[in-house]
């Protein structure tokens, strides 16, 4: 791994498990020596809140979907430390985020208002537009397609000498698509400021990662593209944060891309159309639940006095009312109408498409 002039502690000194996974905060919530300063109590509180909010969003939107008030939803459950820890290492005023479709709290931390996030699932497509000042791309349902976009975006930053990095999320399934390879390779060749965050949640729908690839460590692939890659415990907020921060600094310093494989577990269903009981054993899920990233951080944070039952109760109340009012704001937005099919398809519409718009909107067709 090339040494980058990042001013950070050497990545090689981050503690690793015997299977070479970077791990700072263990299952029982105890932190490796020397990392107590990595996150401030404020940051820890913010992380706890985002993770709890994430789970509340999962619950809420799943219920809305069951009631027919929201479309397909992919819960974050189990992966909160991965997405929150990585997002916290970004500067939303400087850096760009390119999501896949299961990174809700990261998008929120990066600046997407909660009401707009909810609105997206509720079919309020105009209201769900990413605000102009938020450096975020829309979710992408074509798995791995966002990877070359992220490369191009990071390349543009480099060409325009704009400070900043791009962070792109994708899954273990995505890592088998050709787009992954082409994007990794081009990122390496152009040495763009990009962090690839591979969320290895063990599944692509029903397909376990063992059927996805013949390697257990997907991070080794980075070596084939000329830049660093490593695996972190994705249920460990500290490890994810430290690794991402290292990669961000490296990219800002002109060191080029990094691949971070965050190893976690998709505790919930793939999405609201899925029933994981059809393909995986409950015992596996139980084991994963025991490694819950929130519980782990809660233990640690409580131990160091950055968290308490009181704070949690207050936080949960705050989350509930924030969610409720965001939901109500989203509900209040009028549903999109037929004309919205034609909005934002192109800067200008052809005669033929304008005629289709009139037909669909039921207006008189004047030729």
């Amino acid at each position: 791994m090339p040494a980058a002039d990042t001013g950070l502690a050497d990545l090689d000194r981050l503690p690793k498990t015997e299977t070479n996974v970077i791990s700072l905060l263990d299952d029982r919530g105890s932190l490796a020596d020397g990392f107590a300063e990595l996150l401030t109590p404020d940051q820890i509180g913010q992380a706890m809140r985002l993770m709890l909010l994430s789970r509340a969003i999962d619950d809420r939107v799943t219920k809305l979907q069951r009631l027919g008030r929201a479309g397909t939803y992919s819960p974050v459950h189990g992966q909160e430390a991965t997405v929150v820890g990585s997002a916290l290492a970004l500067d939303p005023a400087r850096d760009w985020m390119v999501p896949a479709s299961r990174e809700q709290p990261a998008m929120i931390r990066h600046g997407l208002p909660l009401d707009r996030l909810l609105a997206g699932y509720m079919g309020k497509i105009n209201f769900s537009r990413i605000p102009d000042n938020v450096r975020l791309l829309p979710r992408n349902q074509s798995i791995a397609s966002q990877l070359p976009h992220a490369v191009g975006l990071a390349w543009a930053l480099k060409l325009r000498h704009v400070a900043g990095v791009v962070l792109v999320y994708f899954g273990d399934g995505a890592s088998s698509e050709g787009d992954f390879h082409e994007a990794m390779n081009l990122a390496g060749v152009q040495s763009v400021p990009l962090i690839f965050v591979l969320i290895n949640n063990q599944f692509a729908i029903s397909t376990p990662v063992a059927k996805q690839a013949a390697v257990t460590n997907l991070a080794v692939r980075a070596a084939g593209y000329g830049f660093p890659g490593f695996t972190v415990d994705g249920n460990d907020l500290f490890a994810v944060y430290a690794a991402t921060q290292w990669a961000v600094m490296r990219a800002l310093a002109g060191g080029g891309p990094t691949l971070i494989e965050a190893r976690t577990y998709r505790v919930g269903f793939h999405n609201t159309s899925d029933n994981p009981k059809d393909y995986r054993d409950e015992v596996e899920v139980t084991a994963a639940v025991a490694r819950d990233p929130i519980e782990r951080l809660r233990k640690y944070a409580t131990g160091v006095g950055a968290w308490s039952t009181d704070i949690e109760i207050r936080t949960m109340k705050g989350i509930a009312s924030e969610l409720e009012s965001a939901y109500l704001r989203a509900v209040a937005v009028p549903r999109p109408g037929p004309g919205d099919i034609f909005e934002h398809t192109a800067a200008s519409l052809s005669t033929r498409v304008r005629r289709q718009r009139r037909q669909v909107k039921g207006e008189e067709d004047n030729g």
Partner: protein, 337 residues
């Protein structure tokens, strides 16, 4: 082997999905070279459960959960076929055939030609498609026309359980590649009687699913059922509409199409794909060329808009609706005096 023309035979009632599932299972039983591969087709039985039970019956070597690599699913299927297997690949949704486009049009469809017949690609690609289920982006697009410019591959779109069975068996046994497109919206809702046993339906033969004398409604896949609804409604208004299900668009049953339309002298064509460049254009152009003098009014196309497929909340406006079909029929009848 009974085929469509064999007259009465014993049947059972099934949905389209059930017909597909049992056809797959029966054919795997009959021919040990048949393998099923794709994402999540194994233990899960596919996201729509079309392959449910196959892996436990035939084992993980013949029912294979692949990595998320559409290009490799199709490309490896071609290699499997060259190696003597008979692959039936599932692409989870037709939209994701785009990731494999280079392997479909330029490899699968052309391997027999390129090798001057030394090899052929006995490969079936199954893919669900079509709108109306409020599914996420890319999951509902009707892309069938994009495969009609890749000679060498058949593009078939059954709309009924019996055709689903009969055409799937024809596809699997076809020595050449077939895009077998499944109407996801009506997978479970359209039921019908399906001939038992080994039943096949040839490609390139359209089917009159409702007789009529005033106008012909031409469609394929799920849109056929919209046309049947329209025909019901029209009947109440005293208009007798013939509904023609093309069943396969490549090969196209030019004769059957012309025959049906010449009979009624008026026609419309309905599809879920966007208007411009949709297969409706080919249907109209064919009728224009082959039945020029026999048409009393222009054949109208009822299609989706020339815009990206919208989110579920808007798809009903985007897709051809019963209203738009009825409007097109009335306009056509009116135009022909």
């Amino acid at each position: 082997m009974p085929s469509e023309d064999d007259g009465p035979t014993s049947t059972h009632d099934a949905s389209i999905l059930e017909a597909i599932r049992s056809a797959l299972s029966d054919e795997m039983e009959r021919n040990e070279r048949v393998v099923v591969l794709g994402m999540d087709v194994g233990r899960l039985g596919g996201v729509f459960r079309a392959t449910q039970g196959l892996q436990s019956r035939f084992g993980p070597d013949r029912v294979v959960d692949t990595p998320m690599s559409e290009g490799a699913i199709v490309g490896a299927s071609l290699g499997l076929a060259i190696g003597g297997m008979v692959p039936v690949a599932e692409i989870q949704f037709l939209g994701f055939t785009h990731q494999a486009y280079h392997q479909i049009g330029f490899q699968l469809a052309r391997y027999r030609f390129r090798s001057r017949g030394r090899y052929h690609a006995q490969v079936t690609i199954r893919a669900p498609f079509g709108g109306g289920t409020r599914t996420p982006e890319f999951h509902a697009d009707s892309l069938e026309a994009q495969f009609t410019q890749t000679p060498g591959i058949s593009v078939v779109c059954p709309a009924f359980p019996d055709d689903a069975k009969g055409m799937l068996l024809t596809a699997i046994r076809d020595p050449d590649p077939v895009m077998y497109l499944e109407p996801q919206r009506i997978y479970r809702t359209v039921r019908g009687s399906v001939p038992n046993g080994d039943y096949t339906v040839p490609f390139g033969v359209s089917r009159v699913v409702r007789e009529g004398t005033d106008i012909t409604l031409v469609a394929w896949s799920a849109a056929v059922h919209l046309c049947l609804l329209a025909a019901d409604q029209l009947a109440e208004e005293g208009v007798s509409a013939l509904v023609l299900d093309l069943r396969s668009i490549v090969p196209l049953d030019v004769e059957g199409l012309v025959r049906a339309v010449v009979k009624t002298r008026k026609a419309i064509v309905v599809h879920e794909a966007p208007l411009t460049g949709g297969f409706g254009a080919e249907v109209v152009a064919t009728l224009h060329e082959e039945a020029f003098g026999a048409l009393d009014a222009p054949v109208a196309r009822v299609a989706s808009c020339d815009t990206p497929y919208p989110p579920g909340a808007l798809e009903d406006y985007y897709l051809p609706s019963l209203d738009r079909i009825l409007l097109a029929v009335r306009t056509t009848l009116h135009a022909s005096g």
